[in-house]
């Protein structure tokens, strides 16, 4: 019955379409930071989604609203001692996501020039080894 | 004619009263469950009550024992034989569906542990009661059909369907917006994601159950079913009770874990 053939083909096509890889670029998503006061430090978090088939690495970041930025990884040492390790670069392997989140990787903003309040946005420029410079907007929110 | 599994082991009146008694048991157990949640922080007790409720629904409402009531059918083309196969097929389907819900429940336990999302208890209890009552009417409807009472079947099945719709509205149109207003959204964190995933998946099943009932109601109105042959009615019934059974576990998992302090 040709009805079945039509339906079957449509279904197969739909499934194939669904299997397409989503993006073949490196993207930075959901950049956010907590509110803070002038003169204080802050941290920017985001997700780096590397849809390319090339390994990459985040080398540095820059913002206008702070005097400098550093890449850090928060980590725990023995006995619940928390510390931060400055990172020269953060590897972002091919086809993987690397999450910058509280308690882990973060971009430290040193010495904010102005206060940040919930709802504000500001741009951050991220320099990648292969992908080059990517700029995204950071949303300031409480959590 | 080969005997069907449709042996009227009870007369209609006692079957109906049995359905009512089971509903009363379920209602009492739900009350006990809520009382336990109010006064104690004991997940194992809630699990026990849920299992007892589930057992009652599975045995008396879903007639799970009919799976073993297999008569030696020599005629593979007989209705009785097909009925047996159909039942096994339906329960296999429910088993696979249980994996979906079981997976969600496991996820909830793993991600949320002894905490629960901040939800409105009154709403939770109300929608639970609505679903329980709908199962009562579903059982009534099926019993009516088993005894050839088409009018009673139509009435009770319609009531079931309306209560199902009420449940859907209660969850999607009242509970969800309320949760979102409280800050529990699908993206607000694990608690929100788990809540919406569980209630959403369950509500979707209620929705398909309502559609199933609509189809069965239409066919019944056209006289397609009889006391001896009404497999679709039995299937819709068992599916409906399955959806209630899932909620028997989901309700305490979402609303009652941890002592209810106000």
């Amino acid at each position: 019955m040709s009805w079945k053939k039509v339906f079957g083909t449509l279904l197969a096509l739909l499934l194939l379409v669904g299997c397409q890889p989503k993006s073949s670029t490196l993207e930075v998503q959901n950049a956010w930071a907590r509110p803070s006061i002038a003169g204080q430090n802050d941290a920017v978090y985001f997700v780096i989604a590397n849809g390319t088939s090339q390994d990459d690495a985040l080398l540095s970041a820059s913002v206008e609203i702070a005097s400098s930025t550093e890449l850090h990884m928060s980590m725990s040492e023995a006995n619940d001692v928390m510390t931060m390790k400055p990172m020269q670069e953060v590897a972002v392997p091919a086809h993987q996501n690397v999450e910058f989140a509280p308690g882990g990787y973060h971009v430290m903003l040193v010495g904010l020039a102005k206060p940040l309040e919930a709802g504000d946005t500001f741009p951050i420029r991220l320099i990648f080894k292969t992908a080059g410079q990517i700029q995204v907007q950071v949303t300031v929110k409480e959590q | 004619m080969a005997s069907t599994s449709m042996t009227h082991s009870q007369d209609k009146a006692s079957a109906l009263s049995q359905g009512l008694v089971i509903f009363i048991y379920l209602a009492i157990l739900t009350g006990i469950e809520f009382f336990i949640a109010l006064t104690m922080d004991s997940a194992p007790l809630l699990v026990l009550v849920a299992i007892v409720k589930a057992g009652l629904v599975a045995y008396y409402y879903m007639h799970i024992y009919r799976l073993t009531a297999v008569e030696a059918e020599t005629d593979h083309h007989s209705y009785a034989y097909k009925l047996v196969s159909n039942r096994i097929g339906l329960w296999l389907f429910l088993l696979s569906d249980s994996f979906v819900f079981g997976g969600l429940l496991t996820t909830r336990i793993y991600l949320l542990g002894p905490t629960r999302p901040a939800l409105n208890q009154f709403l939770g209890l109300t929608v639970t009661a609505v679903l329980l009552v709908s199962s009562f009417f579903m059982n009534r409807a099926e019993t009516s059909m088993e005894h050839g009472d088409r009018k009673s079947f139509l009435l009770n099945a319609t009531l079931t369907m309306l209560l199902g719709v009420a449940f859907l509205l209660g969850v999607v149109a009242v509970e969800w917006p309320n949760a979102i207003r409280e800050g529990v959204t699908p993206a607000s964190g694990t608690a929100g994601a788990v809540f919406f995933m569980m209630t959403g998946m369950h509500a979707f099943h209620v929705f398909t159950g309502v559609l199933f009932l609509l189809v069965v109601l239409r066919n019944a109105r056209r006289g397609l079913y009889s006391a001896e042959k009404h497999w679709a009615v039995e299937a819709a019934t068992v599916y409906w009770h399955f959806v209630d059974l899932v909620w028997i576990f989901f309700y305490p998992a979402l609303y009652l874990i941890g002592k209810l302090i106000g």
Binding site: M82 | S14, P44
Partner: protein
Amino acid sequence: MDRKLAWVGLASLALIALAIVATLMLGKPPQFRGTTYDPLVPAPEIALKKANGEEYRLTDQKGKVVLLYFGYTYCPDICPTTLATLKQAYTNLGSDANKVEIVFITVDPDRDTPQSMQRYVNQFDASFIGLSGSTADLQPVWTEYGIFRELGPKDASGNYIVSHTARILVVDKQGNLHLSYPYGEQWQDILFDLRLLINQGGSQG
């Protein structure tokens, strides 16, 4: 009604009643989700200056549940995250909030003054208390509370990281160290324990 049905009902009720009794009898005292100090120890005194010049004394806070956290204002990630978590728990206390006090004590007295500590915690909630003092004042507090701190190397601009114990400590209404949490504890668990502590026994002092 069917005899068998009646038995099913009775048996179910009996089973559940039995389970409830067993749970109550074998029941353990309230299960805290944090790590309990066993045995409880009186919380060592903390006497440090607040931003307004008044002295804060921990022993004066009996009757309230006090959450202590040690950190520093130049911390961009761990400390804000922890204070945000404490804020979440605090906000959800509702009317019980006035029975709980949250105190942030510095591990970096060279850079943190009582005023800068208070300014820092005010971002989370104005009722939080920020404390600092001289290293001589703070060292005994760090030691007695088991707080490790280590100053990292100074960079070109003179900035440095401080590694420190990031546990949250809870002093109950009687002034005893009762619970502690590791970094990353969920606010719901902290809230749960706070409610237990608030409702525990009578208040003294």
